[in-house]
Amino acid sequence: MDAVLAVTAVIFSLAAAGAIIRIARGPSLLDRVLAADVLLAILGGALCIDMAVNRHLNNLMLVVAISIIGFIGSVTVARFVADRRVDPNES
């Protein structure tokens, strides 16, 4: 299990670095929101790995809460972008 923990830690670090690069570089606001969503998914995955390797359930409610309310941020930002249209009648 230690080898699995090391391998997944490296993979998650590379993935988080890629998502953060996209957040910093992304040409539009929606790209950044999407990359932040991916970063949240990577964080939830890292919590799951920690629980599975160390065989505890301390983070389980956090993972459930992330999966329930994690979408609110991107929905809010998407509405915010949509409300700044030039022509509000464009529905």
């Binding site: 993979i11 998502a19 996209r22 790209d31 991916v38 995955g45 629980m51 599975a52």
Partner: protein, 136 residues
């Protein structure tokens, strides 16, 4: 991990290790897709990998490692809520991206939203003109 495959424990450990590594690779695939793909729509396609399949594999790894029956309903609830909420955010982000022209139109193979947008714009324009006629 101890390579003891005489009993079921070694196989369970092996299966959960494979699930964890593959689930982590889903996150890496999403990051590579975010960095390499050209526009918002294709990046959205890459971003769903760790949110659905990656989370499923990692939750299955938790269930296999803890090996108690009452964990599975909680993990199932987490995954089902993820399945319910991810399309909502993807829908909103994709819609806002279409509205704000954050897409390469030459990369689209089908655009089923354009007719709806044209129709709504035409109706809005007709309503505007009739309102103007009524006030004059």
């Amino acid at each position: 991990m101890n390579p003891d495959f005489s009993g079921p424990d070694g196989w369970v450990d092996l299966a959960s290790a494979v699930f964890m590594v593959v689930g982590a690779l889903m996150s890496l695939a999403a990051a590579i897709g975010l960095l390499r793909f050209p526009d918002l729509m294709s990046r959205m396609h890459a971003a769903t990998k760790p949110q659905v399949l990656g989370l499923f594999l990692l939750l299955a790894a938790i269930g296999l490692q803890l090996w108690t029956w009452w964990v599975w309903p909680v993990l199932l609830v987490a995954w089902i809520f993820q399945l319910l909420t991810v399309p909502v955010s993807a829908h909103m982000v994709g819609r806002a991206g279409y509205r704000t022209k954050h897409l390469h139109r030459e990369l689209l193979s089908a655009d089923e939203l354009e007719a709806v947008v044209q129709k709504a714009a035409a109706e809005a324009a007709r309503k505007d003109s009739s309102d103007d006629g009524g006030t004059r």
